[in-house]
């Protein structure tokens, strides 16, 4: 078989494997950070420093009884978690996580460090994440329980409200880079201003970054926007009736979605795999300048994920009317303004 093709398959498999593992790592991280915020120890008995806790969690979930409410719609009830998880994994397929590489000279031509390089990548991500809501909505409806239904309804309303701002914050970056491909957008952020400020879109688009993060948190249903599962009001929202592995799939989907939003934020605003120091080391070792870029990528995504968890355990949940008011009356006008100003600057400065 062609070596390059084989390498591409390995990259795809590796991406999938890392995404699965990232969910486990995030579970551990979430519990440890939560413990730190609340001045507890967190898990420390299973394995060294409690590192095997996610494994124990998974084993526990697997051995639980699979319950289904009698009046539930059985087809949709089992389809919903699968849809959720599939959409979560599929969205990551077009996210590049490193510069083109020949794997230190093993291949004769460079391959992309992404499962697929699509020239409308950003739109594909947007399309697939908008499919993810069906998992939650169907779970809510098919459970035939009032809490689940309310959770599903809230989720669809929230997604529609925040998707607009989410898309408009994308659009501003697309205008700056002049491309829909994530790879090209990252390449536009290479280099420095005045020799030391990295050319990240974060510094050009601070408002856009804020809007993207806020809408991203709302899209992934994380606190302070976790209304679909607000436990004080809705028991557990859309997954009230789920147990065992079906529940685990929702859990998995939530964490994978967090990773995707963080990775996209890194590619769009934080310069992807570009950063100081590492190119120097790589050159010193005699490799390509950006061959160690994936370390920067991992570090940035890791920080954003930490931020996600930090926010969850620090901020209280909004009230539902506040959520809608914030989304429609503040975030949407702000993103439209951001788009208009960006368009004006792009035209007059000729970027």
């Amino acid at each position: 078989m062609d070596r390059v093709l084989l390498a591409q398959f390995i990259v795809i498999g590796f991406t999938f494997f890392m995404l699965l593992n990232s969910a486990a790592i995030l579970v551990y991280m979430e519990r440890k950070v939560a413990a730190f915020v609340q001045q507890r120890y967190g898990p420390y008995l299973v394995g060294p420093k409690g590192l095997l806790q996610p494994l124990a969690d998974i084993i526990k979930l697997m051995f639980k009884e699979e319950l289904r409410p009698k009046a539930a719609d059985s087809l949709l009830f089992y389809l919903a978690p699968v849809l959720s998880a599939t959409a979560a994994f599929a969205a990551f397929a077009v996210v590049p996580f490193g510069a083109d590489t020949t794997l230190f000279g093993l291949l004769d031509r460079p391959i992309h460090l992404a499962a697929a390089d699509v020239n409308v990548g950003l739109l594909v991500i947007f399309a697939i994440t908008s499919m993810g809501v069906y998992g939650i909505v169907l779970a809510g409806w098919s459970s035939n329980s009032k809490y689940s239904l309310l959770g599903g309804l809230r989720s669809s309303a929230q997604m529609i409200s925040y998707e607009l701002s989410y898309g408009l914050s994308f659009a501003a970056v697309i205008m700056l880079a002049g491309s829909l491909s994530l790879h090209t957008i990252v390449d536009h952020q290479a280099g420095y201003w005045l020799g030391f400020i990295p050319k990240w879109y974060l510094f050009v688009q601070p408002l856009g970054f804020f809007i993207f993060l806020t809408a991203g948190v709302a899209e992934t249903n994380r606190a302070p926007f976790d209304f679909p599962e607000a436990e004080q009001e809705l028991v557990a929202g859309y997954h009230t009736e789920y147990s065992s592995m079906s529940f685990a799939l929702f859990f998995l989907a939530e964490y994978v979605n967090m990773v995707t939003v963080s990775a996209v934020a890194t590619d769009l605003f934080l310069g992807g795999w570009h950063g100081p120091f590492l190119p120097t080391i790589a050159r010193w070792l005699g490799w390509q300048a950006d061959s160690l870029g994936w370390i920067w990528f991992l570090a940035k995504v890791g920080f954003l994920l930490f931020f996600y968890i930090w926010m969850r355990w620090t901020l209280p949940r909004y009230r539902y009317d506040q959520l809608m008011e914030f989304g429609w009356k503040w975030l949407l006008p702000a993103s439209v303004l951001n788009l208009l100003v960006t368009a004006g600057v792009v035209i007059y400065m000729g970027w």
Partner: protein, 173 residues
């Protein structure tokens, strides 16, 4: 390869669309319509228009169908009962049904004839056979050549939106 994919997608689309109208449960109808849209988006990809494919999913399968689902869930109609009452008897009796069947048949024959008569396979414009339509091309076409139609459509949608809000709103006094 392309031909095989085309036939698979086309079959999925036709079958899903037929099943949409055959369902008693509106929830399943909505979901099958999404499947049909997904297959249509695949056809766009085969035609070399990934941008249109992505937009198809975002706008139709993503935004509009979520709204449909939202309404179905809010009304929470479990299954559609056969209608009863005066109007149902007027429209659903044996006579009107036969009349409707004849009309449907006439429409089908007419459509078939029209397509057969006038839809010859048009030659592809030179130079655009398999080149994918780029976002730039679509953008310039939309905002330069068809700018007026584009703006007029958006104003029309806005008017429709304002109108529906005015109609649906109840004055609270």
């Amino acid at each position: 390869m392309d031909a095989v994919l085309f036939w698979i997608l086309a079959a999925v689309m036709v079958i899903a669309s037929l099943l949409v109208i055959g369902q008693r449960n509106p929830m399943y109808s909505v979901l099958l319509l999404i499947v049909s849209f997904g297959a249509l988006s695949g056809l766009y990809v085969l035609l070399g228009a990934p941008f249109v494919a992505a937009i198809q999913i975002i706008v139709y399968a993503g935004a509009i169908m979520v709204l449909f689902l939202f309404v179905v869930m809010l009304l929470n109609v479990p299954t559609e009962d056969p209608p009863t009452g005066y109007h149902a008897r007027l429209l659903g009796g044996a006579g009107p049904r036969r009349f409707g069947a004849v009309l449907a048949l006439v429409l089908a024959v007419e459509l078939f004839w029209a397509f057969w008569r006038y839809l010859q396979p048009a030659p592809m414009p030179a130079g655009s056979s398999r080149a994918s339509a780029t976002v730039l091309e679509i953008g310039t076409k939309l905002f330069k050549d068809y700018a007026f139609a584009f703006e007029a459509t958006s104003v029309l949608i806005l008017v429709a939106m304002v109108g529906s809000i005015v109609l649906a709103r109840r004055e609270t006094k």
